[in-house]
Subunit: 322 residues, 2 copies
Amino acid sequence: MRRKPETTGWLIGLDWGTSSLRAMLFDGEGNVHETRHRPWGVRHLPEGGFEAALASIGAGWPSCPVLAAGMVGSRQGWREAPYVDAPADAHALADRLVTVETADGRCIHIVPGVRDSAAPDVMRGEETQLVGALDLQPRLAEGTPLVLPGTHSKWVRLQRRRIAGFTTLMTGELYGLLRHRSVLGASLPDVSATAPGGSFDEGVRAARASGAAGVLTRLFSARTLMLEGALDAAAVPDYLSGLLIGEEWRAALAAGWLDSGRTPVLIGDEALCLRYRRAAALFYLPDPAWVADAAARGLWRIAHVAGLAGDCTQLASMEFPG
Amino acid sequence: MRRKPETTGWLIGLDWGTSSLRAMLFDGEGNVHETRHRPWGVRHLPEGGFEAALASIGAGWPSCPVLAAGMVGSRQGWREAPYVDAPADAHALADRLVTVETADGRCIHIVPGVRDSAAPDVMRGEETQLVGALDLQPRLAEGTPLVLPGTHSKWVRLQRRRIAGFTTLMTGELYGLLRHRSVLGASLPDVSATAPGGSFDEGVRAARASGAAGVLTRLFSARTLMLEGALDAAAVPDYLSGLLIGEEWRAALAAGWLDSGRTPVLIGDEALCLRYRRAAALFYLPDPAWVADAAARGLWRIAHVAGLAGDCTQLASMEFPG
């Protein structure tokens, strides 16, 4: 067996949400050496809980510093990391890391969420993606709306490169409820997810046409159009997706999020961001930019600011598969 | 045993929805002689299905003509009664009754729903309440918005005393989903329903303040306010109710429903209509009028127009508890 040469600066980053856990091993340059996924969200832990999950997902990795972000720091998580008030940046987050020690003496650092006291509104996990996006796109201008689509989409505004304010839209959760549990979608057959099609566009147009009354005045059309044969049962989910994603753009326009004239930046999953880009086009908006995998970069950046990366005590003496 | 004197004009009216069945025995003057309730909605029938449900709920009643309205006439009901296109009134509905005959030769007449082809939108059951409301309030003016709150609220406009157009808002269904199955309410303890309180008002105000962006930009506040201790867990359902009922008024104002300046009329359950009245006050609107039990009156009226009431073939020869 060959021995790995001495290296400093390795880091394990955990993107630990409600429904899944992603672990990344970073090298000293901030490159992701390996990524592992497990379905062990904060509410779906394996036997042995957080410690067992971490031991398993990090098996064979050096005992580097560990930095975790997401719901792992919520009241229902491993340890609560109290919100930092906006405006906040990587330094504010790094200053307020919360540390939990495992039974075998390992320290896990948890990134706090951010609170916007004006709304009030909160985020947990997205702050790390935002730090990453700012690091990946250093020229992100003030006034550029940042959009993080998801179960709870966040619309974020920056001020002096800090998270200054934000609004949550429960778009993904509403989609799930309407698709699987409402009269609109509960009785529909399961269809595998596909790229957005013509029914998605119809949904976006209906949201746009709802004007100031808003999309709740159009939701029921998902049922009536199907009853009338104008919408295939299999296309209802795509139509619903268009209604709800279209509503995000409609509401954002109404609330002045796009008044700066700056092209929004989407941060997140590619397939989902593609839907947001397609909907933006139907609102005659310029094609949003897209930043992928900002969580990984954000974890690395916060660790770096906190002085965590580089504190890799046991790496030199370990067997490590290069 | 005494024999009931010969009477003509008796009628059994059935208000038969998705989740419950209400049967009313009308005398020859249209007065409700007796009302019976069963939890036998179209999707919760007893063994033996529709016939058994009818036989049981009407036990001991004369074998009068039977007129049914609601989801009993849907594709998932006893027999589909195809929608009548708006504009529609009691005569249009009476002309298009659908009849189903039971095994023992009894005829059940079913009121069709109404379709607004412009939206498109559909109603089933509400058309009968609307006929009843028009009969109870003969001076209902053109331009008066009629509001039927519920699982699927209907906003209806009249033209020459006919149902001319309408919009469905899934307010009640959304409330149920958000209260019981979303991150906002699923983990809350069950609390018994109460009259709306201060948290309801807060929800209405938040919906009002959402402006043209709409209430979906405020839903998440139900969680953040609770996390911050500004909203008791027990008050979240009431706050959610305020958000969603407030949104109906906000959207109605935005869509021009109240431009005529006429005071809206609420039709339906008293406790629910009280919430709508309280929300209207917080939008600085005049106190809406309220019409109760319009379904009973509508059934009687449609039966009368159809010539059903009075065709009571077996009444005179029956034992009948007076």
